[in-house]
Amino acid sequence: MSNSVQKPLPQRQSIHPQTNDTWHSIAQRELSGESLEQAVASLQSWNLHVFARRVIDEATGEMGNPILPSDIVFLEPPLTTFE
């Protein structure tokens, strides 16, 4: 590990969900420049830690993937460069 001074790391844009947020509401609010369908698909692909999570809905017994209030939701794909 280096202790030398380096240029600041880029930050991958993210948000915390707002009350009752859904993929659609986040897409509408945060990615308004894209079609809703594409924006939702992008969000889900960037946030597999939420989208692929499976939690049993105790009311229905079905597997779901709720967005939790404490989640981090990324608004862009992973940043690939690190210098």
Partner: protein, 553 residues
């Protein structure tokens, strides 16, 4: 007359400065003299050839349940630990209403692998509030306890079932803040929260339903009392970890609090990731934030048998559900029947290289004793099958009591781990002491630091390493006049032989209430451990049970 004098030892005082030979005089639990020519004492220890250091501090443990039947938190003390911090990762055993006990037991079972039977047979539930809990564990305490309060239990107390369904309203947040304040006033050293854990029904724990407003309000209370926030984060993902570092930095700057996240692992396949995380921590430190990663010293090993849900199967939903939701006879039946075994085989086929590396470490039947110590690849060859089927068949033959070891799963590169451990922005921690009792032994991390990294690898000086496990955590976690050998400081002292200190091999013991077992490690090279001015353990006589441990807060 002094109560105790420790003579002729090499005093490594926790400051990081070079050690020196001196005597230490103790009276009424406090260090009263450091130098030569001490007064007479009721008891004297000749520490010639030994290092005399402040007692080690383990800042990330889950001894909460064990303290209810074992005030020494064995085997922590014999490894030189004099102070433990339980209550991490959003889970403490108080405050806890009677109607929520079984729910919390389920969380401890799922997350920390503490068996239900241990609670049933080892715990008398005679507390609800945080002060009542501290009074309960304080009755026969041999080790010092600096207790965190768990965010999930605060939510559970205030919101009940709704704590695992929704965000809190303003009134509920206000109640949680008042409850946290009560806990801090009673002696809690901080708050812990979790962004990752699930309960025994595989539901997110209550803290994960908290929004930023709630965490912000709780941090304002921590600020008022100058207390720490601990989080367990999405440690398996570097981008998520970076985002959590950012979040903690903002909380730290806004409220002026210390924050710590654990664990931070490093291996060949994520060396860049750990470097990025540490760089981000340094950037925030330069802004004035206090964000401290905790790094464990030991490599990752996981042991398991099919009777208990294992971390190793977390990414195999069918397997995990099999172990989590079925009794042993049901598990056996499903593994015997072709139609239920086939989908399990299919799900686990992709991890064949892992199964082949597993070592059979323990069996019950004489027929299989000769296979102990062999890899599943070797056993599979002997049996003419693949490793996965060999693992299943052995488990069936042993009534699920075939134990397997997956060794060196990561965090095992001495150079990378050593660089992290000695980094000034890193805290040595994340032992998980008292948890995961059927997966690995969470003891001996300090011996491994001082033996492997200091003596054998020369990663850092003895003085630097001692500072990392004494005064650094004492300062960060706010433990007052502990963690240093100074006149006026509490006499928590560990004497060890620097040429021999180490962790022993991992072995299985049956000492958990309810006929339960766990993995532990013996200590090597620890000579004597003094807690609160009295000898708590010495290698010749074992534990003395002087009950001089204190609640620190």
């Amino acid at each position: 007359m002094l109560d105790l004098v420790i003579k002729n030892g090499k005093v490594v005082d926790g400051s990081g400065l070079p050690g020196f030979v001196a005597d230490i005089g103790i009276k009424d639990g406090v260090i009263v003299q450091i130098g030569r020519g001490q007064q007479e004492a009721a008891e004297e220890i000749d520490a010639s050839g030994l290092v005399v250091a402040p007692g080690f501090i383990d800042p990330h443990t889950h001894f909460d349940a064990q303290l209810l039947w074992d005030g020494a938190a064995k085997p922590a003390i014999e490894h030189g630990i004099t102070t433990i911090v339980p209550g991490n990762c959003s889970l403490s055993l108080a405050p806890l209403k009677a109607e929520h006990r079984m729910k919390l037991v389920g969380m401890f079972n799922q997350i920390e692998e503490m068996p239900h039977k241990a609670f049933a047979q080892g715990v008398e539930w005679n507390w609800q509030t945080f002060p009542e809990f501290l009074a309960r564990i304080g009755e026969n305490l041999d080790i010092n306890v600096a207790q965190l309060v768990g965010h999930s239990v605060l939510r559970l107390w205030v919101m009940g079932e709704a704590s695992m369904q929704r965000i809190a309203n303003a009134s509920e947040i206000e109640s949680m803040c008042a409850l946290l304040e009560e806990c801090l006033c009673a002696g809690a050293i901080g708050l812990s929260t979790s962004f990752v854990d699930m309960d025994e029904r595989l539901q997110p724990v209550p803290s994960r339903y908290a929004d930023t407003a709630e965490l912000d309000a709780l941090c304002a209370i921590l600020s008022k009392h100058n207390k720490i926030l601990q989080v367990v984060h999405e440690f398996y993902d570097s981008d998520l970890t970076l985002a959590r570092v950012d979040q903690l930095a903002e909380l730290s700057l806004k409220h002026g609090i210390n924050t710590t996240f654990s664990p931070l692992f490093v291996s060949h396949d994520n060396a860049d990731s750990a470097q990025r995380i540490l760089q981000r921590v340094q950037e925030h430190t330069a802004r004035g934030a206090r964000v401290w990663p905790q790094v464990q010293t030991r490599p990752i090993d996981i042991s398991f048998n099919f009777a208990v849900p294992s971390l190793l199967f977390m990414r195999l939903p069918k397997w995990y559900a099999l172990m989590r939701f079925n009794a042993p006879d049901q598990i056996i039946a499903k593994l015997q029947q072709a139609d239920t075994r086939a989908p399990l085989i299919a799900e686990a086929q992709g991890m064949m290289s892992l199964w082949e590396r597993l070592i059979l470490r323990q069996v019950q039947t004489p027929e299989n004793q000769g296979l102990v110590g062999k890899s599943l690849r070797e056993i599979a060859e002997l049996r003419g099958c693949d490793a996965l089927n060999a693992m299943i068949d052995l488990s069936l033959e042993e009534g699920l009591e075939a134990h397997f070891l997956s060794a060196d799963m990561g965090h095992n590169d001495d150079q990378l781990v050593g660089d992290l451990l000695k980094h000034p922005n890193v805290m040595v921690g994340a032992s998980d002491g008292g948890a995961h009792i059927l997966s690995f032994a969470t003891y001996g991390d300090t011996g491994y630091l001082l033996g492997h990294f200091v003596r054998d690898q020369a990663t850092m000086s003895l003085e630097s390493a001692v500072k990392k496990i004494t005064s650094d955590p004492a300062n960060l976690w706010g433990l007052g006049n502990r963690g240093m050998l100074r006149e006026g400081f509490v006499a928590d002292i560990t004497l060890f032989d620097e040429a021999h200190i180490d962790r022993g091999s991992e072995h299985f013991v049956q000492d958990v209430p309810g006929d339960g077992s766990r993995y532990v490690r013996d200590a090597h090279g620890v000579h004597t451990v003094v807690i609160g001015g009295a000898i708590a353990f010495d290698s010749a006589n074992g534990y003395r049970h002087a009950h001089r441990g204190q609640i620190i807060g």
